[in-house]
């Protein structure tokens, strides 16, 4: 579902964020992406989101090579990729429901289907009762779950998460990870960037480790 072939990303002549990274993720696979801050985790996620383009090599998502994708096609790729951020990027000028509905509105889903699908996503993360509230009224863990609901509401085949448990206590973190595991069980490819080594080790999943832009380990039966 996601494949990196000899991907290098250079920002300036002296700053290389990724060096010849190779790996592949199957449909329904859940993997962690780890490494020190500045190791290239965010750059790797940005390449999948087509926020950045590789300097060399190929990024393939869902069989499509992203390097040559014209700019106006980018939104359509993003509709197939759900993203969860550490600071969740919720909008505080609208309700929880409207936040979660955004990806569907962008896709032009009819209003009556939006209601049904948003409630299904909120139910999945256990926040169905809070759809009318403002995200500001929710706790940090709840806000993160709203962010997850928004990321999965249009059932994307790929789910990316950038430090999704960064601000949460261990119990909440475990709950969130449990949610991600459920998504991978229904066929979603999940890639979670995190530096929470303890949590990662507990779950015993495949882990891609970056060090200064190099993929130093892609353990757990990867492609390379």
């Amino acid at each position: 579902m996601i494949e990196f072939r000899q991907v290098t990303k250079r920002y300036d002549s002296d700053h290389t964020a990724l060096r010849q990274v190779n790996f592949g993720l199957e449909r329904g696979e859940l993997a962690f992406l780890t490494g020190h801050s500045g190791a290239g985790k965010s750059t790797l996620l940005k390449l999948i989101m087509v926020m950045e383009r590789p300097s060399a090599g190929e990024v393939v998502v869902g069989g499509q090579v992203l390097n040559r994708l014209p700019r106006r096609q980018v939104p359509y790729i993003r509709r197939h990729i759900g993203v969860v951020f550490q600071n969740h990027q919720l909008l505080f000028d609208r309700s929880v429901f409207d936040n979660v509905a955004m990806p569907l509105e962008v896709m032009g889903v009819p209003a009556r289907d939006i209601g049904r699908r948003v409630r299904a996503a909120l139910d999945k993360v256990g926040l169905l009762s809070k759809e009318k509230m403002n995200p500001l009224q929710l706790s940090g863990g709840e806000q993160q779950r709203v962010g997850i609901a928004r990321a999965v509401v249009n059932k994307p085949p790929v789910l990316l998460a950038d430090e999704p448990t960064g601000n949460l206590d261990p119990q909440l973190s475990a709950d969130i990870m449990g949610l991600f595991a459920e998504f991978s069980q229904v066929g979603v490819t999940v890639l979670i960037a995190s530096h929470d080594i303890a949590l990662i080790n507990n779950l015993g999943r495949r882990t891609l480790m970056l060090d200064q832009g190099r993929l130093v380990s892609s353990g757990g039966g990867g492609h390379d």
């Binding site: 801050s37 500045g38 965010s42 750059t43 996620l45 940005k46 989101m49 926020m51 950045e52 106006r72 939104p75 359509y76 790729i77 993003r78 509709r79 993203v83 951020f85 990027q89 909008l91 000028d93 955004m102 990806p103 509105e105 962008v106 896709m107 032009g108 889903v109 009819p110 209003a111 928004r150 950038d162």
Partner: protein, 341 residues
């Protein structure tokens, strides 16, 4: 149609599935279109609502736009009224030909007939010298003084009304030249001078009005552009998220373009109100002035069609202003900045 024989051979279930498939694509298309329009409605409503929520700022923008639009339109209305005056006058222009002193009444009648047979002439009236003197006597009040004259000093006179085809400044002038060349004609008078001056002046004014219209339209575009730029800044987060979840450029642009169009609608309405108010305010004095000149000159207002055109033009200008701002600033907002290094 060519498919139908094949289809009959298929097992019923497959046929069912296929026709259901066809139905869903068709209804999916219709659904797509209907959700597209309902999204447009929603965005239009939402951007109008946002303007409503900041009434003071919105009203200011509308007023600025209204004043900028009302000025050139007022000038154009004035011009249209002036052109009405000059065209009215052209149709009633008459040429006065004073005949030479030695010309007899019979010769004058022949001249009249000659002129009358010309296709460019509608009517020729002959005023013989005696009638002219009587008229002069009664209208000038110089009755007693004229009695002292031994002789009638006035010549015979022909009053020529140009035909329909010659009722233009050029046509009248050709006719004047023709009459001047005729034997026995001493002097030809036509008061085209002030008409030409008025025409030249309205032409100058109309250029000035257009220049003003273009300049002020540019100002309107810039004002709306700047206002929309601010609203883009205010909604930065929302734009980021929309781009992040796969919003196309058109989707992200749409609310701002509607905002621009609503600014335009309000500005157009304000311009209309300003125009109607000043027309009402000026109509009394204009009527008095026209009365003094024995003219039926009136300031014409905006016709319903012109009002509609004004409002549509204003909306287009607003839309254009928003488009300029959106083009300049939306690309700067890139979701890449959400995720840190």
């Amino acid at each position: 149609m060519t498919e139908s024989p094949n289809r009959r051979k298929e097992p019923p279930r497959a046929r069912d599935a296929r026709s259901r498939g066809a139905r869903t694509t068709r209804s999916a298309l219709r659904q797509q279109a209907s959700s597209y329009f309902s999204h447009h409605r929603k965005v239009a409503r939402d951007s109008a609502h946002r303007l409503w929520q900041a009434p003071f700022a919105t009203l200011m923008t509308w007023t600025v736009m209204g004043v900028a639009l009302a000025l050139p339109v007022a000038l154009m209305l004035l011009l249209a009224s002036l052109q009405g005056v000059s065209s009215g006058w052209e149709s009633s222009a008459r040429i006065t030909a004073y005949l030479a002193e030695g010309v007899t009444l019979e010769q004058a009648e022949i001249l009249q007939q000659n002129l009358d047979s010309d296709s460019r002439v509608a009517e020729v009236e002959l005023i013989d010298r005696d009638t002219a003197l009587d008229e002069f006597r009664s209208s000038s009040g110089l009755q007693d003084e004229l009695d002292y004259l031994d002789d009638n000093p006035l010549p015979h006179t022909l009053l020529v009304t140009p035909g329909q085809s010659s009722r233009t400044a050029n046509g009248v002038q050709t006719l004047v030249a023709l009459i001047e060349r005729m034997d026995g004609v001493d002097q030809v008078q036509v008061d085209l001078g002030w008409l030409q001056r008025l025409n030249a002046m309205t032409q100058l004014l109309s250029r000035a009005a257009w220049a003003l219209a273009i300049l002020l339209s540019a100002a309107v575009v810039l004002v709306i552009g700047n206002t929309v730029r601010l609203s883009i800044e205010n909604r930065r987060e929302e734009i980021l998220v929309a781009k992040l979840v796969g919003g196309t450029d058109a989707f992200v642009r749409r609310p701002f373009l509607y905002t621009g169009a609503w600014f335009g609608l309000g500005g157009g309405l304000v311009a209309w109100v300003l125009l109607q108010a000043s027309l009402w305010w000026l109509s009394g004095p204009v009527e008095r002035l026209a009365g003094l000149y024995r003219s039926d000159f009136t300031l014409s207002g905006l016709s319903p069609g012109a009002t509609l055109a004004l409002i549509i033009a204003a909306m287009l200008l607003g839309w254009l202003g928003a488009w300029v701002a959106v083009k300049r600033h939306l690309d700067d907002i890139d979701p890449g900045e959400i995720a840190g290094g």
